[in-house]
Symmetry: C2
DNA sequence: TTGACATGATACCATATGGTATCTAATAAA
DNA sequence: TTTATTAGATACCATATGGTATCATGTCAA
């Protein structure tokens, strides 16, 4: 079973969502990420920990620096969970998807 | 701009996500929803308020009952926000979508 | 070696959050 | 008209959360 909760929890904070966007442009050290926000490095670090708990980012050590990188794959289960509801949308993708999965050609 | 925050916040709690799933099967009164969970009606009511703040559910009064119904449309911006990252997934939908949006036919 | 720098860890604080218990108001039914 | 039912409002509580300040540690460079 996929642990959705830590990912959903991590996404609930706007700063953390901004961090994910940032990391989608390039990997960054803790200091580089912190430099983009109006809060202390410690606060940013805490957000990074929550993102890590949600498996939304990966970290690797390089000397005295810790490099944070996006793990977008972990967003997939969240995307799919929400995607369940697309059947209730007016402009939905489900018709398209099922059509293609059946090997048919859309009009 | 779409107010993503109240929706993301509402989705961060597992009980609230369960409530959304419940309401996707049928509209329910507060009491009916509460009957599905191991917590007081007051606690469930609080969750319903948060879901309402996120615009994820709509309510209408019928006599002394309040009927809650899913507003799946409000999940769309959340879905799209996460969908931004699909370009980083191995098995992504973006190629397919852009192809179709250009009126082309997938292979 | 010594100092500067990047990070991590910890203690602390105010507020938000998720829950309960309890009370009031409106409506349906006897 | 009573009485039971459904819901909303409020007070209260323990814990989680988002933030700060501060200190310890490892690593790079002079």
């Amino acid at each position: 079973m996929t642990a959705l909760q830590p990912a959903f929890r991590a996404l609930a904070d706007p700063t953390r969502r901004d961090i994910l966007r940032l990391l989608s442009t390039s990997d960054m050290t803790v200091g580089q990420v912190a430099g983009k926000f109006q809060m202390t490095r410690a606060a940013v670090k805490k957000h990074l920990v929550v993102l890590e708990e949600g498996d939304l980012i990966a970290t690797r050590r390089s000397g005295r620096e810790t490099i944070n990188s996006l793990n977008a794959q972990a967003l997939r289960p969240v995307f799919d969970w929400i995607g369940y509801f697309d059947r209730f949308w007016d402009d939905r993708l489900s018709d398209l998807k099922s059509t293609l999965e059946n090997g048919e050609t859309p009009e």
